[in-house]
């Protein structure tokens, strides 16, 4: 078991290195740079080319590519992500501001999704081809077909038109004012959690259906084991493997992928920061965010591998 975990753990580092190299060079291929994005638009007609060259030099953009890369890697080796090219502020500070919000939305959406998906998936599997199953399938297919940002817009319009109320537009940390915090974040969590639950519900249903037809379930039933025990101890544990995968990957995606939903609910999260960093050609911030989100995916994958081993003993003995 430990050998398996260690192997999976060590595999994380070359993956991250590959991501870092790819991100650095791919970003440089994209036309335009941060100085151009800042000064060359409408008002910038009086901006001297010398000023732009000076700004580039300040940011190290006049250096050869290999030197920029070595400097960045050296910083990473010291856990120094550097300064944002757009604001000049430390990247850790820029990310820290948004990370708490994105993490909370991801956790809340995951809770919503799990609370919906697992019971609904089980019920649908147990009542296969009955009206219950059809209702759950309609509910989950609707969730798959509905973009969460659209659901967010509908929610906001509904609040506005029916209740003449809007969720708070400024983030308040949970520990400062829990009510205000939840009044803002519960809605995006529900909008995102619904779509997220749709995937997991379908996965739970199909996995349960498959497991319920296995010989060991039939044996358990034949020996007169209590149904609830069969479901929880034998069926659900085995059916959860693909569900855990879906939930884990969705969670990692939510950390940086909620761009439009964040716009709709005016959330100051990582998704919006990501898009703005790319649009502004803020290389250092984009690189850091790609690394952060990739790390989340890699860590989640690692944790899932560990969980697989726990859920399925065959994996750890392999």
């Amino acid at each position: 078991m430990w050998k398996y975990i260690l192997k999976r753990f060590l595999l994380m580092f070359p993956t991250l290195l590959g991501v870092a190299v790819l991100t650095f060079f791919l970003l440089r291929i994209v036309p335009g740079d941060v100085v151009e994005a800042r000064y060359a638009g409408g008002q910038g007609q009086f901006v001297d080319q010398k000023v732009m060259a000076m700004e580039r030099a300040k940011l190290g953009l006049d250096q050869p590519l290999w030197k920029q890369f070595v400097d960045w890697m050296w910083g990473l080796a010291r856990f120094d992500l550097g300064l944002s090219m757009w604001t000049g502020a430390p990247i850790t500070q820029e990310i820290k501001l948004r990370f708490a919000l994105s993490l909370q939305v991801a956790i809340m959406a995951s809770i919503v999704a799990t609370l919906l998906a697992i019971p609904l998936g089980i019920v649908a599997a147990l009542r296969q081809d009955t009206w219950v199953d059809y209702a759950v399938r309609v509910f989950s297919i609707a969730g798959l077909a509905t973009p969460s940002f659209w659901l967010g817009i509908i929610m906001i319009l509904g609040f506005l038109i029916i209740f003449r109320w809007l969720p708070p537009m400024v983030y308040t940390p949970f520990w400062v004012d829990p009510w205000q915090n939840l009044a803002q974040l519960i809605w995006p969590a529900l909008a995102v959690g619904y779509r997220y639950s749709a995937v997991a519900t379908r996965m739970t249903r199909s996995a349960m259906l498959e497991v319920l037809r296995e010989d060991y379930i039939r044996t358990a039933r034949a020996k007169g084991l209590w149904t609830k025990l069969i479901l929880t101890r034998h069926a659900l544990k085995n059916a959860l493997l693909p569900v855990v995968t879906v939930i884990g990957l969705e969670f990692a995606f939510l950390l940086g992928g909620l761009v439009v939903t964040e716009q709709v609910f005016n959330l100051n999260g990582l998704g919006l920061l990501f898009v703005e960093a790319i649009a502004r050609r803020d290389y250092t911030l984009t690189q850091a965010l790609v690394l952060l989100v990739s790390s989340a995916f890699i860590v989640v994958n690692f944790l899932m591998d560990v969980m697989y081993a726990w859920l399925d003993p065959r994996i750890r003995y392999r």
Binding site: P31, G42, V47, D48, G88, L157, L160, L166, Q263, A279
Partner: protein, 539 residues
């Protein structure tokens, strides 16, 4: 028998009618309009956020809207003037112009305090303008070029500032009213010239409280503001909200009072329909315009017949009617914003190519010119910037207009951050260009069109010494009538004779705001009128 109303009844009825008519005018709200009310917090969304706190180096209105209330400038544009063109005193109380327009001497107000309690003097104004015009080595000033006329800034005594110019400039006062030129404290600049990039400390009507990146800026009333009795507001809260639908929802849900940039006509209509008399709408032609740059370095756009054909194909009058319903454009204009002192009158405008009233005549002439130039059925790529509003609808319309004279145009949309780099390299044949100003002033608005060796932001990439000469003449003409004459000649050469550039439609600014907001006047620029000192709330 006929029934006649008694005298008493008639008097009673008259009193009732008079009271019904006068009642709305006598309500507390109506009375409050007469006298500004103190108190309240103004809340407004801002669609953009600046990279730093230093107005001297930033270019976005995302700095102006939340940060301008913390500062004052030497002069300001009259906040009550809808044309947004009149410089009036701010930190300078009065001024004199001497030596044939070469020396401007400003007397400063006394008793103006920075938020740290120290007195603002001429030393601070000089340090501020030295930073902008003569930055020390290693400090980039993005507006240095705008003040090329200035030879020196002097502070002969604590309350006098003198600007010595190299040549007379008709636009100099307007340049000093720039909302970007916040007066900073000299002692701070002397210690660290970059201090204002990360800190806030001015003389303005509001004191900085906090900025949470990506979220909001809060300001509170400056109790020691030099303009006694102002500001009226207790404070303001600027919320960074990128999504337009979310901004509209905030106004509709009464979570915000105003968004100072602009909404579209459709947003205006939806807000008016939902809120009725709770909303007030102010509109103005906007000092922003999309232009079409025709690259003179690429054939056949080096031929003025082809360029004239391209402008003659555009039916601006019909386009204005249709596009103003779906995009933030409206007015048919020449090189300057309609309704402002140096703008071309509609009758004169109608004499320029592309502005003739009869579109059939224009298009027939366009086809004739194309045939003469051997460019019939010309195909070209029209580069457009990847910003939906108003670039997308305007480009679709333009392409259709050109199709009607037999041109075959392909649109290539380039992402916003890469767009101007591409234009600067001169890779385009025809491209959408953009111009936006903080004040309608010919020196600022026409500089875009001087030769490319003088202004690299001229993306039509021509050299025209006649046009450059006209620019200099209008800039140095102190007499307004003489200046107008040079501006007309400049415009005729730019848009008609040489057709160097092609104007689309003037942007149109629509600001629907809560009717509780008073003391704010829309102008042609979203960079103006954001000091908020005269703004007040009825409730």
């Amino acid at each position: 028998m006929t029934h006649r109303p008694s005298r008493t009844r008639v008097i009673l009825l008259a009193c009732l009618l008079v009271s019904v008519v006068l009642a709305p005018a006598l309500t507390p709200a109506a009375l409050a309009q007469e006298k500004p009310r103190s108190g309240g917090e103004l809340i407004f969304p801002v669609p953009s956020e600046p990279p730093s706190y230093d107005g001297h180096r930033e270019e976005t209105f995302g700095w102006i809207h939340p940060w301008a209330p913390f500062y004052n400038t030497l002069l300001r544009v009259d906040p009550t003037d809808p044309s947004g063109t009149k410089p009036v005193p701010s930190l300078a109380e009065r001024w004199t112009i001497a030596d044939g327009g070469l020396t401007y001497t400003f007397q400063l107000r006394r008793g103006v305090k920075f938020h740290d309690g120290s007195e603002m003097t001429s030393k601070d104004v000089k340090a501020t303008y030295d930073k902008i015009i003569f930055p020390p080595a290693g400090v980039g000033s993005t507006r240095k070029g705008q003040y090329a006329v200035v030879e020196a800034v002097e502070a002969p005594d604590p309350y006098t500032v003198r600007f010595r110019l190299k040549w007379p400039s008709a636009a100099f006062l307007a340049s000093l009213a720039s909302p970007w030129n916040a007066v900073y404290k000299a002692d701070i600049l002397a210690k660290d010239i970059h201090w204002y990039e990360k800190n806030v400390m001015g003389t303005g009507p509001f004191i900085f409280v906090e900025h949470v990146k990506g979220s909001h800026v809060i300001g509170k009333k400056n109790p020691n503001y030099w303009d006694k009795g102002k500001p009226y507001l207790d404070g303001f809260r600027a919320l960074f909200v990128r999504d337009t639908a979310a901004q509209v929802a905030m106004i509709r849900g009464e979570r915000a009072h105003i968004q100072f940039r602009s909404f579209t006509a459709a947003h205006r209509d939806s807000l008016v329909a939902a809120l009725g008399d709770k909303i007030r709408v102010q509109e103005s032609p906007w000092d922003c315009i999309l232009l079409v740059a025709m690259n003179h370095e690429k054939k056949p756009f080096d031929d003025k017949r082809v360029r004239r054909a391209l402008t003659l194909a555009i039916d601006r009058y019909a386009g204005s009617q249709a596009l103003s319903k779906i995009a933030i454009v409206k007015e048919v204009a020449g090189a300057l914003v309609p309704g402002t002192p140096y703008a071309t009158a509609p009758d004169d405008l109608a004499k320029l190519a592309g502005y003739w009233p009869a579109i059939e005549t224009s298009r027939a002439e366009a086809k004739r010119l194309l045939k003469e130039a051997g460019a019939e059925g010309l195909s070209f790529t029209f580069k457009n910037r990847g910003i939906p509003m108003p670039y997308e609808p305007l480009a679709v319309w333009m392409i259709d207009q050109w199709r009607q004279i037999g041109l075959n145009v392909k649109q290539e949309v380039i992402e916003a951050a890469a767009y101007f780099a591409s234009l600067r390299r001169g890779e385009h044949e025809v491209a959408m260009d953009f111009q936006c100003g903080y004040i309608v002033e010919p020196d600022l608005d026409l500089y875009k069109f001087v030769s490319v060796d003088k202004n690299p932001a001229n993306y039509s990439r021509y050299k025209d010494s006649v046009l450059d000469d006209l620019y200099v003449k209008q800039s140095r003409a102190v007499d307004p009538e003489e200046r107008k004459k040079h501006i007309r000649a400049f415009e005729k050469r730019l848009l008609d004779e040489e057709a160097h550039y092609l104007m689309t439609l003037q942007w149109h600014r629509i600001v629907p705001h809560s009717s509780k907001v008073k003391g704010w006047q829309v102008t042609p620029s979203h960079y103006l009128n954001n000091t908020l000192d005269g703004v007040w709330l009825t409730e």
